[in-house]
Amino acid sequence: MTGPSRIGGSAGESLPFAFAGRRLQGKAGDSIASALLANGIVTIGRSFKYRRPRGILSAGEDEPNAIVDVTLDGVRVPNVRATTQALQAGMEISPVLGRGAAFLTRVLSPFIASGFYYKTFLWPHWHLFEPAIRRMAGLGRVDPASRMTAAAGGSLSVDLCVVGGGRSGLCAAITGARRGQKVLLVDRQDSLGGSSLWRGEGCADLVAEVQALGAMVWTGATAFGAYENGRLGVHRQGEGLASGGSLWVVQTGEVVLATGAMERPLLFERNDLPGVMLADAALHYLRRHGVLCGSRPVIATNNDSAYPVALALAGAGAQVMVVDSRPASARSKAVNGVRVITGACIARALGRGRVSAVELDSGQRIACDLLAVSGGWTPTLHLCCQAGGKAVWDEDRVILVPAFPVPWISLTGRVAGDWAAPDDLPWEWAVAPEIPSSGATRKIWVDLQNDVTLGDVELAARENFTSVEHLKRYTTLGMATDQGKSANLLGAAAMAQATGRRATDLGLTTYRPPYAPVPMAALAGLSRGALQSPLRRLAAEPAHRAMGAHFRDYGGLLRPAFYGTDESSIAAECIAARQGAVVFDASSLGKVAVMGPRAGELLDFLFAGRMSNLAPGRVRYGLTLNEAGIVTDDGVVLCLGPEHFLVSCSSSHVGGFVASAEEWRQTRFGRDQVFIHDRTAQWATMSLSGPTSKAVLAGLGMVATLDDQAFPHMSFVMGQFMGKPARVARVSFTGERGYEISVPSGLAVPLWQALIAAGAAPLGIEALGWLRAEKGFLYVGQDTDGETMPHDLGFDAPRLKRKQGFVGDRALQLPVAGDAERKQLVGLARADGGLIPTGAHLVEGSPRRSIGFVTSSHLSPTLGRGIALALVEGGRARIGAEATWFDLGQTGRATVTPACAYDPEGGRLHV
């Protein structure tokens, strides 16, 4: 009983690695699986549910058993498929031991049948059991400290993408390239040639031609998903274990699938014993890695494709016995040096922990150290089926085919059911799956990764879960990380047999991306850490930092929250604004130019208030709505000159305003008469505010006059700063006299420094939020919600005067807009001057019912008491009345007030 060993030459660099603590040697070019086999290791891990020992079944991404955790250079990567991961020197490989239901199996039953969890943990409630069961579930261990890297992916457009670099795929790529198409050839292996690398002599001539024709070739790449309009998702492996690789979206004009076919296992008792391997995999390990997987193999087959394997293993010195379930044929008689038993099936595999013999249905026993099996072939139709092809069984051709043609996908080679005979003999490789008559013993495994037996399938059938979709969900067949590549067709055939139907009646479950697992690191790509959601920053950030600004992220923009070490400075900033002069960096406020003969007309349409009659030099406040009449933003419009306006919208609404304005411009007004240009980033804006702001500004000498007659509130003048144009507008965000100074953004720092030097104190965004709340100035999105209309905020004219010709005009006349119980913006005040939590509900009645909620709430340093803004049903009619607020179990009383709590006459603007 020798088992697998390396018989190939000594060529190739030696790679030391460890498996389960054992120090071993592999060779350059090895996969983890081939390196383990070369070291005679047959048992790789324990199964998911029953913790049964399992070995390597396949040589590709269909592998259900050989899943390992790998650590290299301090990075631990869980659940690596040993058959597709290249070996690297220094890898520490641990078996993945299914934690399984070990304790359950000890106390309850040796096996957990289909639906066990559903049936057993129904009472009193599944959630009582779920945590313990969840702990048992899962495969490898994730190390949260380990970070895989990823490279930048991208998108690519080609005329033709060929998936699969075997002989058929190479021919398709050559044909396309000769036609002048831009061709991309994608193959999951590290070398082109597909199965000819072990079934033939390779395809060096075709590879050379593909390269000479200039086709793009991606090896080590998996086309994992087919998406609408001819797009493929492609994962390219990175360099080494710790690289998650890169993710590509390939836009194709057409796709040729040359993805070949996957060999199916045979079903017999204890077919999960280590040492049971697909026949094609045994050939793969021999030819690609010089590993003979057994010196005394039994090759069990129901088709001709195993005979070349038998000859190759015999040629490598193995003592081969073929067990063919079919009658003797020309091929079974033509294998010299190999013993063949025809008309016989494997009844069971024998051995403790690994295969040591097989028992045929005749009762005959044959000793062996490898049981190579071939149960036929399933075309790898995944991408075609993801695109809507739907796989069905073709009784005549005895093979799986797409039921519907996908116009942009064609099939070639084995995936199309086309496999040329290697010689002159008949070549019967397409065969129907064979299902044993009864799985009553329950030790016949259909899905090895999820431990689903033939008995489970039969139980599902008895309990009337007879469609393939129910079978999958009830037994978990096909739901493991291999997505049932070796199991699905056998499961469907077993269900067909158990219910007396034909395989054609059943079909297969839906194929979904990804074809093979894609590392999360590749999906994230470079979008993580600081790059995940890159912050926009202010031009004057260094100047703010120099003054001790504490920065926070406000909707993706890094802005000074306050100046100082903690939030206690916010109140001081508020008081400075009411008593002296403060400066606030408002550079992110929108500065969107609207120009052209129809500029005024467009603005009249965009705002719920007229803008076209603004005189040059004047400023007007306005609201924008959507067509449902809901307030989307507020802002001011400056008239820079005839046919030239500047819209100053909220910082976080610039993108939305421009997008909406462009939509109406292009679809309603036309491109020729009005133009929109977002100048937000080109101009820095400092907002100077407070009773002494006029004096501070005078010190800068930027504008000719600050006389209030010549330069009244809601107007602007042009001046100069450091020889560059400066625009100074009299607007107010705080309720105090205010000047908004805009200069080219390169002058942001000197302007800030000049204002500070002239006596202004810095004001952060938090203090601004308090100041504007004292005034009842609303923040759209905070003090409004998805139902707020202008008249809910006190802007009654658009609705009452039945104004028309703007976005949302008609919606303001709908019955819902006239409802007396609409939520309206009001203020709240507690008798004790205390704070009402933001988010608290206003409630009334019994049982209590919410009539609104608090949108902003602060302890006003100016007034020395709590102030709050709230949206309340029929709020304005309630002014002066008492209301009850409720928050997280706490209740209290408050008086409903007008929204503006400070200087309602507006006299402070002119102080």
Binding site: S155, S157, N229, R231, V249, E254, Q666, G805, A811
Partner: protein, 91 residues
């Protein structure tokens, strides 16, 4: 399959040429006309919320939002997802 001869491919912006589909954003149904101010409440509600959901050929607004910013009208097959024609949007 409206026309099996038409192949999938990148969206072709009349201003920028073939560009990756991720650069474009759907913009609604261009056939929905904005009713006048004198329309009924039901007409306005229909304009706001009621849309056809055609199987097969559909005319759709698309915006080249990560490109030239132009509004476009695409003729697209909602079954095959193939984009048959893209023209600039006009009022």
């Amino acid at each position: 399959m409206t026309n099996p001869m038409i192949k999938p491919g990148p969206m072709i912006c009349p201003f920028c040429g073939p560009r990756d589909a991720s650069e474009f954003r759907y913009g609604g149904d261009p056939s929905v006309a904005r009713p006048g101010f004198g329309c009924s409440d039901a007409d306005w509600a229909g304009y706001l919320y009621v849309r056809e959901n055609p199987r097969g050929l559909a005319r759709e607004y698309w915006v080249h939002s990560q490109g030239c910013g132009q509004w476009l009208v695409a003729e697209r097959d909602t079954v095959t997802h193939l984009v048959l024609r893209v023209t600039e949007a006009t009022p």
